[in-house]
Symmetry: C2
């Protein structure tokens, strides 16, 4: 069994060795830039861990794992353009370093490159691996669209929100785990359990992100705190706050959402204060733990020795209790 | 053997029956809109014709053909956004009907959908079909990037231009033909001849487009004449005009390229007049025929009965002598 840092190292070594130096550089330099920004590489690590439950030679399935990471970075590139985000992982985004058209076209090329990597697997599993990836890739687009649609709405329900983050975040983690299981020749039951584990952990992971944006430690959290509050993002915290607020709290919260002119720090402070009064931090933490627990249940049902699941369990735990 | 209109009908029937009515409609309605705008469906028709040289049951490979058309329409959607084009096939473009973000994300979804259709082929051929498509899809991105890069340059050479249109236009036609050959179980030689036929016909097809923009019949040409002239597009005509102009003509042509304030019709008239004086229409027509002839030579080398090649030959001829 490989440990998480060993798998990460294999992934990062492969990505560093990729050469995007061919012509036209105006197309490939941004691809190289985005992939070099780093990150936790959670999707390929999960895929390799799932595979490693059944087979040892993880180097043989490194390319589909790199494909998953390439796809994920493509979504960040296009999402940052759509969200007009200036920074990503402490560096200016592609449309800031280059321009909008470069971000569109380099992103398109990355999506094709992702398919190229993912197709590079044993022909026995190719169709199933491809179908799993394609389904997730389409659902991620749906999730991003729901997320953008929600910006225009103040009546997003908890269920709609959970569905959206399932599509936008979870299904790709789940698809990675499923791809690892397929390539590892796991049983249909194990494959499904691994997929479900990914869905549940993914939702918990996104709820943790919502929490960190408000309650994270600014010295370790990668972004500035309160970004979601400033952009009125329909997070779980905001949705539950709107749902559970009393009349006075609702009026105050709504007035902050509608205010066009405000001091950013003042808005963050006031909305956080309202969240604290309404008590949504605990509500969110409890929902997060609910999904985390479901994920661990899925993991426990997989028919491999318990001690072999320790890396997956440790990674899930790390994602839940991280401070960044 | 199926005729061109019979194949087109099968393709259009399939596209009309596609239902993009599921949620989120903000993602799928633009996909439906773009695919419904029609067009000649040249890529899937070519693929089915190549297949039909070897096998009869074209309905069996309709899905990869639909995938090619979906991919092509994705490129139009994103290209129109990057070019800020308002109209496509007589209708407002997606970013005009909806907005830029919708055009980005619906396009992304179309690229994934294209892969879904293309993967829907016999597992025996899947890897080869996928690799052929992926290679072309990446080259199309490269071609579009070169095209955009050329906008900033006045020293584009003839060879660079031919390479660019090969990538941007030809390789997808060629890949479609190759995919048809692979699925039809053609020999490696025939597969390569069909690919080369597509490359050569594709370059001729694009040169014809350059000609039609200036010398087309305005009553039948789908777009307004002179669009390339107004946007200083580095077409074959402009590149050869800059290359062959005498000093006086060069000065006049350059001054029109640099002019920021002008009457559109006056610029079109003056540049067309210069093209006529320099004689680039004949140069372009001769280059077009050169590639067309090369394509027909490739076709003649394919080892199937000559009379079975008539649909491919007729389509190539139609593309060359069309007035729109």
């Amino acid at each position: 069994m490989y440990t998480s840092p060993q798998l990460l190292e294999q992934i990062n070594n492969y990505i560093s060795a990729l050469s995007y130096t061919h012509s036209p550089q105006s197309l490939y330099a941004p691809v190289d830039y985005v992939l070099s920004l780093g990150g936790k590489r959670v999707r390929p690590v999960l895929m390799l861990m799932a595979y490693n439950l059944y087979k040892e030679n993880v180097a043989e399935v490194l390319l589909p794992a790199i494909g998953l990471e390439t796809y994920h970075n493509f979504t960040l590139l296009h999402d940052d353009l759509m969200d007009k985000a200036d920074m990503r992982r402490g560096k200016p985004t592609v449309h800031k370093v280059w321009d909008d058209n470069t971000a569109i076209l380099s992103g398109d090329a990355m999506l094709v490159l992702a398919y190229r990597f993912i197709s590079d697997c044993s022909p026995v599993y190719l169709k199933e691996v491809l179908d799993t990836f394609t389904q997730a890739a389409l659902e991620v687009c749906e999730g991003q669209q729901f997320d953008m649609d929600f910006e225009q709405r103040n009546n997003v329900t908890e269920q709609e929100y959970i569905d959206m983050i399932r599509l936008k975040t979870s299904v790709l983690l789940a698809a990675g785990l499923k791809m690892g299981a397929i390539l590892g020749d796991a049983s249909a039951e194990d494959t499904q359990y691994l997929y479900d584990f990914g869905v549940h952990i993914g939702i918990a992971f996104q709820l943790k992100d919502d929490l960190l944006d408000v309650y994270g430690d600014p010295s370790v959290f990668g972004k500035n705190l309160g970004g979601d509050i400033l952009s009125n993002k329909k997070t779980y915290l905001l949705i539950k706050a709107l749902e559970n607020a009393d009349e006075k709290q609702a009026t105050e919260l709504t007035s902050w959402l509608e205010k066009e002119d405000f001091d950013p720090q003042e808005k963050i402070k006031a909305v956080t204060e309202l969240y604290n009064q309404i008590g949504v931090r605990l509500v969110c933490e409890s929902k997060m733990r609910e999904f985390y627990t479901k994920g661990l249940e899925n993991l426990s049902l997989i028919s491999v020795a318990e001690e072999n699941k320790r890396e997956l369990r440790a990674l899930a735990e790390h994602l839940m209790y991280r401070e960044m």
